[in-house]
């Protein structure tokens, strides 16, 4: 069972190429497998600035995809969100 959530965070990313502006990483956190990536506006370009800053884009949110470890997934999902199965806070 996977859980997905998006954390709004507006950051202007600047770099020397369009590829340099994308970001994805994977890590483990307290028994969960996490994939995080930056999502946002399309890349823009300007040749009026130094080469290392010519490509830029707005990151609008961090997208997280979380997969629980081997424990009972129902429990893990509830633990992840801090809610019970009905969606109410504990």
């Amino acid at each position: 069972m996977k859980v997905r959530f998006n954390v709004p965070v507006a950051v202007l990313i600047i770099g020397s190429s369009p590829d340099a502006l994308s970001f994805t990483t994977k890590f483990q956190h307290r028994g969960f497998f996490v994939e995080a990536s930056a999502d946002g506006d399309p890349t823009l370009h300007s040749d009026q600035v130094p080469a290392e800053y010519q490509h830029f884009r707005m990151m609008r949110e961090l997208v997280f995809l979380v997969t629980p470890g081997e424990e009972k997934e129902g429990t893990r999902i509830a633990e992840l969100s801090g809610t019970n199965r009905d969606g109410h806070s504990w």
């Binding site: 950051v11 202007l12 770099g15 890590f27 995080a36 290392e52 801090g82 806070s89």
Partner: protein, 331 residues
């Protein structure tokens, strides 16, 4: 704190402190706003019918009350944070290794943030706290490792009675090299220290007669010095490892032992100095590739193509080749 918040904060913290991005802050969760976060973050689960289902249904009308306030706060910032893509690697390392920033880094980011919003008094205070931390650590390590003083002697020497002005104006001046002195205006640093003392010991405020430009210039000098001292400390800490590596390379390659300098985290400058001709049989590019591999074995985040700069010099001062961006360049 729920794991979701903890996961988000791990990434946000890394972007702020290791990507040097002021205004990106960790999420502060409380019982009252948990529901709001769940809605705002569009938390959903991958259900049995292979679709994403919201874990907490959004109330009709979307975010209400506190949620609206929170959302508006999130978008009301007049300053757009910027991240240089070249810092992604440091951010990724921090995320994956779950690194905590050194204390002075947090003060440095705070000071930058405060400078930008024009809170000069707090910018001075935060920058000086960061400097004090980095300076104390540097002096302790320098005096023990480079000057051979015992820990007890250093402790009696560097005590609270020795003020920050004396530490910077005298002690640091005696220990820091000329090369580094040229990088920062010490007089500006001392101006910042005096401003801090004015706030703490006199009025609680900055002297209104000091122009804003002077304050900003002084704080920038403090931040620069803090960064330099953090890197110098790292260099001293890495000395034994780099000395062993230099001996290893010299032995395996049959070359003079190189001087290895840790310019900053992961960034290495290696100098080979030959007296007489460089042996024709010596393949410089293979030597560089080997050095890069050995550095990766020490530091898995080291990227030889980005982080390794090598100079080959011949007596008395002729550079014959350099290695950078993964290639040998003959001069």
């Amino acid at each position: 704190m729920t794991p979701l918040t903890s996961i988000a904060n791990r990434v946000l913290r890394s972007i702020r402190n290791f990507g040097i991005v002021p205004y990106v802050n960790e999420v502060k969760e409380s019982e009252g706003n948990l529901q709001t976060f769940m809605e705002r973050w569009k938390v959903s689960r991958f259900a049995d019918d292979q679709t994403w289902q919201p874990l907490v249904p959004v109330a009709p009308g979307g975010l209400g009350g506190f949620g609206q306030l929170l959302a508006s706060l999130g978008s009301a910032s007049t300053e757009i944070p910027q991240l240089r893509a070249s810092e992604w690697r440091a951010v990724e390392e921090a995320i994956q290794e779950d690194l905590s920033p050194v204390p002075e880094r947090e003060f440095l980011i705070n000071a930058i943030e405060l400078l930008r919003v024009g809170n000069l008094r707090m910018a001075v205070m935060e920058s000086i706290i960061g400097l004090e931390i980095a300076l104390a650590r540097y002096l302790n390590t320098y005096l023990q490792e480079r000057r051979g003083l015992s820990a007890a002697r250093v402790k009696t020497f560097i005590n609270p009675q020795l003020g920050l002005t004396d530490r910077v104006a005298i002690l640091l001046d005696l220990t820091i090299g000329d090369r580094l002195k040229k990088l920062v205006e010490m007089e500006d640093v001392l101006t910042a220290v005096r401003m801090r003392n004015h706030v703490v010991h006199k009025t609680g405020h900055l002297d209104p007669n000091i122009p804003e430009e002077t304050v900003r210039k002084s704080v920038n000098a403090v931040l620069m010095l803090t960064d330099i001292l953090a890197n110098e400390w790292l260099q001293i800490e890495m000395d034994p490892t780099m000395k062993s590596l230099a001996e290893e390379i010299a032995k395996v390659q049959g070359v003079p032992s190189p001087t290895i300098r840790v310019v900053r985290k992961h960034r290495i400058l290696m100098d080979f100095w030959f007296i007489g001709q460089v042996p024709e049989s010596l393949k410089l590019d293979e030597l560089c590739i080997d050095a890069g591999k050995r550095l990766v074995a020490i530091d898995k985040w080291f990227d030889p193509n980005e982080d390794l700069f090598i100079r080959f010099e011949q007596f008395p001062n002729q550079i014959i080749a350099t290695w950078h961006h993964g290639k040998l360049h003959r001069v």
